[in-house]
């Protein structure tokens, strides 16, 4: 009886000690965490990031949250620390990324709402259980480069069967409704950058104090499980058959090209390429597409009809991209598509 009581007491002490220790380290801020864990590099990055005023606990969870997973993870970290088996660089797991998603939404509500309404909020279920697509293009590991890039494992760990013959099912059913392209695909929270300027009435525009490209913008590289800043991503050289195609120098496009990529020959419209040619050649993806929602309709009116005399109803005209036969496809509509007899030369202004 005495031994049993002692055991219960020990177990209770252990259960209470874990959150108590977590709370102790949390109270010291990120510096306390980085002192005892192998988080020095991440901590230094965070110190110079645009999120430096946000405590670690806001994104990574806290001791008082009551989450069993959080405490279990901490216990496993201590074990790894003592055994010297700490992975480096420290990496977040699939579940960690998905948990962070909700925390991003806590502050960036508008961006989150826009992303939720756009195609990039697609779930694992919609992407990987699409029978029509799977029959046409059997799922392979390379799919995970752009869809479900945070998933730890190959396509066979995610989907069963990984072939053109269905029926398909997700091996981890809890992923079904989770986003396959979450915030962390294009944003890295620890990237050095300025604090977001708070705009006040009468103050100069906030854009004057901000970087032209937000420093968090970068691609989550699945191979290295690290975010690569957009400044290190290349813009491809594109060709329309033998003609070099002008591309906007907007560096943010490099992020789009990673997944909406041409095939190796660099031909426009090959593979998943969306490089604009024709009358829209040289425009950046972001000239037309909303950053988070990817909608374009509203952007047409910013240039038309001021820049054209065609009097086209740009808000309602057929710009469908899915229809390759559409003459008005904005990615490659040419002057000749509307002027088959030849483009009229502009009249010279009378002096």
């Amino acid at each position: 009886m005495k031994i049993l009581s002692l055991l219960i007491l020990l177990v209770l002490a252990g259960c209470l000690a874990v959150p108590a220790i977590s709370f102790f380290y949390e109270s010291g801020g990120g510096a306390a965490c980085s002192r005892c864990h192998e988080m020095g590099h991440q901590y230094e990055q965070w110190l110079s990031s645009s999120h430096r005023n946000i405590p670690c606990t806001s994104c990574h969870g806290e001791a008082l949250s009551g989450s069993f997973r959080f405490h279990l993870t901490n216990v496993l970290r201590v074990r790894d620390h003592l055994l010297g088996n700490v992975p480096e660089p420290l990496r977040l797991r699939t579940a960690d990324f998905l948990e962070m998603q909700a925390r991003c939404a806590g502050c960036h509500r508008q961006e989150f709402a826009q992303w939720s309404a756009g195609p990039h909020s697609v779930s694992y279920e919609r992407l990987f259980l699409n029978a029509e697509h799977n029959r046409k293009e059997p799922p392979v590991d390379d799919c995970l480069r752009c869809h479900g890039m945070h998933f730890e494992g190959g396509i066979r760990d995610l989907l069963e069967p990984a072939s053109a013959r269905g029926p398909w099912r997700l091996r981890q059913e809890e992923l079904a409704g989770q986003p396959a392209i979450p915030c962390t695909t294009c944003h890295s929270m620890h990237r050095p950058g300025r604090l977001l300027a708070r705009w006040q009435t009468g103050s100069p525009p906030a854009a004057r104090f901000q970087e032209p490209v937000r420093p968090s913008v970068g691609l989550f590289d699945r191979r290295s499980r690290q975010a690569v800043p957009v400044s290190l991503l290349p813009l491809p050289r594109m060709q329309d058959r033998n003609r070099p195609v002008a591309i906007s120098p907007d560096p943010r496009q490099a992020l789009c090209y990673q997944c909406h990529a041409p095939l190796s020959a660099g031909q426009v419209r090959s593979g998943d390429d969306r490089t604009p040619t024709g009358v829209h050649e040289g425009l950046s993806c972001f000239s037309c597409h909303d950053k988070h929602r990817q909608t374009t309709r509203a952007s047409c009116a910013t240039c038309h009809p001021r820049l054209s005399n065609c009097n086209r109803p740009v808000e309602t005209m057929d710009t469908t991209f899915a229809d390759p036969g559409s003459r008005n496809n904005i990615h490659f509509v040419k002057c000749q598509d509307c002027h088959p007899q030849g483009v009229p030369t502009p009249k010279k202004k009378e002096s």
Partner: protein, 193 residues
């Protein structure tokens, strides 16, 4: 257990833990002195010029990480190499290696490369093995993928013009387009819309 035995074991444990050289801040295995020596060494192998060198690429961090993991059981050659080069520097110039002028550091490294360094510092082969060991891992840390701990911020890839992540289409190669491109005045490229 008797109190005397307990105290003896506790004292011995404390003494043994104190005698270990603790790693430098931010590192796991290398002590402060070892890290300084290694940094000076790799800096001479890939110096900083108009482009970043081994120092900026975090090669010391890369090697330290390996010594804590994959090379855990092969630390001795590294310890010997770092002790040897410092001893060689002391014998020749009465200073540790990291305090020497770059010219003297290079001279010492050239002797090691040729296997002609002081036998007192490197009894086996005059420093040739130590030189090759550090050179090979410096190159790995400088040119390898940053996920392994070196090549910080892709500095060497930026120097070489290698993209951090290349633009890669779904099927990588469009055979039909390649064939079409080889034909002059080709009018039909494969378009996958």
């Amino acid at each position: 257990m008797k109190r005397r035995n307990f105290l003896t074991i506790a004292a011995l444990t404390a003494a043994s833990s104190c005698s270990r050289t603790s790693p430098a801040p931010g590192l796991r295995v290398l002590s402060g002195k070892e890290a300084r020596t290694l940094e000076a060494w790799v800096e001479r192998l890939i110096p900083t010029d108009q482009d970043a060198g081994a120092r900026e690429a975090g090669v010391v961090h890369f090697i330290d990480r390996l010594l804590a993991g994959w090379l855990k059981r092969k630390r001795q050659p590294w310890k010997s190499a770092l002790e040897g080069i410092d001893r060689g520097a002391f014998l020749a110039y009465a200073k540790p290696f990291y305090e020497l002028e770059p010219k003297r550091q290079i001279a010492l490294l050239e002797q090691m490369e040729a296997g002609k360094a002081s036998r007192e510092a490197f009894p086996d082969d005059g420093g040739k093995a130590a030189f090759e060991l550090v050179l090979s891992y410096t190159m790995m840390g400088f040119y390898g993928n940053p996920r392994h701990g070196g090549n910080r911020d892709y500095v060497s890839w930026q120097m070489l013009g290698v993209p951090a992540v290349p633009v890669r289409g779904r099927r990588h190669r469009d055979e039909a387009a390649l064939v079409e491109n080889e034909k002059p005045n080709s009018s039909s490229g494969k378009e996958t819309l």
